[in-house]
Amino acid sequence: DSKVTTVDEKQEKKEAVTVHIGIQQSLGPLLIAKEKGWFEEEFEKVGAKVQWTVFQSGPPHFEALAADRLDFGVVGNSPVVAGQAAGISFKEIAVASDGLKGNAILVAKDSPIQKLEDLKGKKVAVAKGSSGFNLLYRAIDKAGLKPEDVKIIQLQPDEAQPAFESGAVDAWAIWEPFVSVQTLKKEARVLANGQSLNVYSPNFIITRTKFSEKHPELVVHFLKVYEKARLFEKENREEAITLYANVKKIDKDIVSRVLENNQSFNLPITQEIIKAQQDTANFQYELKAINKKIDTEKVVDNSYITKALQAEKK
């Protein structure tokens, strides 16, 4: 009897996989799960280890994915388009937020800019290839302007911030938590956001294709744990806010505003979102940001999330 156990143990050890999860420096269920150690706990039950990797933004996720060093992550809409265009094999397995309120074009509180048309001839800061970038171009389009009519300045958020606050730029296309920080602390105005422009800037949970083919059950498992964290955030709002505020050392009012603007999902990817992604991809192709046409539906795989949610219901 005991002999059999040893063999089993040995086999288990051989198969012991390490799951590499990428996390960005943003607020969300992933951070809760990380702080609480839920992934470690749950994956240990199926004999897997967890390795966290912190990324500063979306694109490095794809560098790590391509190098087979990463299995899961939550990233924005633009990086997935770029990643797909670059031919990296990954799958979008769930949508984590719609980003309707989480992305906005900000102007200073006493800025003369009142409507989108006023952006003409003004300097706007944006990080190229970000969700804010997408939003800005759509806004320009909607206002009947051409990209050349606006002076677009490429800035990463932390560099855009002093530029925006010191008036070196007139507007800033940006996402959370910067939107909340600026509106709460600096009384910046939201000139437009995803909602007003009807532009989705969804976040996706992604997985590396090779990994998901080899360990489909772990993918489902991942989504289950993610769901647990999401529910925690939703149901224990105060506790979640306190946790975020402590970990990231930011004010609670900002955290709470961020959570308001950025509701967390863990849902199948709808046709609407796929369509929105296709628009983004086409638009980026037009801009020559990506160098080939892609079909955004091809990277969508809702099978895992469906299984996970079903299992949760039971």
Partner: protein, 284 residues
């Protein structure tokens, strides 16, 4: 010749010179330290005053007092130590690896023109490849763990020492080299007894620059999937516009760099006491 009017000089040679000299040394080093503090203190003063009166937003440029407060908070929570420890470990391992390779390759290329002609052009090309661009390759080859971080730091630390060692060796006096040939020094003795001591001033300079590079390399290396470290602390704080924390990081970088530098300079003054070179005009 008439008697000249010369101011009298102390003739009392029984004066206890030893004590006087020691006192003088202590006094001089205090004076030196004070002089070094003039500029930083002035800067801090102006900074605090503009912060208080010019009303620049805290998120853009926190005042020194704000920074000290954050510093204190980070220190008291024990967090800073964790970051510092891991960063120092990374920087030191990277430095040791890069610097020893730099010294080795610098010596090899310095000793042999042929090795230089083969290896140096490639190394010089590698020298100006930006770390930020190499990060993805490092992730590919060495993963997201400590290895790629340490290697990236080592890469930065390699070059200053390599270049300085090579140049130092090529600056060795040919006359002394002839002496070692006459005395038939073994190759090893030639290196240890002539070439290294003679190029020591340059090597130590290389060490200083390499230490700086290693320290700075932390920032880029800790962009690659780190969740601890001073570089991470800064980049994380930037994400959440905690400018005060960014400054704490900057100050730690400045102090850490200065500390390492001072250490090498003390070493320098011990190891190079045989030199008979210009020491600069002094007024103390």
């Amino acid at each position: 010749m008439s008697k000249v009017a010369v101011p009298s000089v102390n003739h009392d040679r029984h004066f206890p010179k030893k004590i006087a000299i020691r006192n003088l040394k202590v006094r001089t080093s205090i004076l030196v330290a004070t002089r070094g503090l003039i500029l930083p203190l002035l800067l801090i003063l102006v900074w605090q005053l503009t912060g208080t009166f010019a009303g620049i937003s805290n998120t853009v440029l926190p005042t020194p007092i704000d920074i000290v407060k954050s510093f204190q908070a980070l220190l008291l929570s024990g967090e800073l130590w964790i970051h510092l420890k891991i960063s120092v470990t990374r920087a030191l391992s990277g430095f040791l690896l890069g610097a020893s390779l730099g010294l080795l390759l610098g010596t090899l290329t310095g000793l042999s023109r042929t090795t230089e002609q083969v290896a140096d052009p490639s190394l010089q090309m590698l020298r100006t490849v930006p770390h930020l661009a190499l990060a993805p390759l490092f992730i590919l080859w060495f993963g997201l763990g400590e290895l790629s971080k340490v290697l990236l730091i080592a890469l930065g630390a390699f070059f200053p020492l390599y270049v300085n060692t090579l140049l130092g060796i090529r600056g060795v006096d040919k006359k002394l080299f002839e002496v070692t040939r006459i005395l038939e020094f073994s190759r090893l003795k030639q290196v240890t007894k002539l070439i290294l001591p003679a190029s020591l001033p340059n090597i130590l300079l290389g060490v200083r620059l390499s230490l700086g590079s290693a320290w700075l390399g932390l920032v880029v290396s800790e962009l690659m999937g780190a969740s601890e470290g001073i570089g991470y602390l800064i980049m994380d704080a930037r994400q959440f516009t905690r400018t005060d924390v960014v400054f704490v990081g900057i100050i730690i970088f400045a102090l850490g760099g200065k500390l390492a530098d001072s250490f090498v300079r003390i070493l320098e003054s011990k190891l190079l006491k045989w030199r008979d070179s210009y020491q600069g005009k002094s007024i103390d």
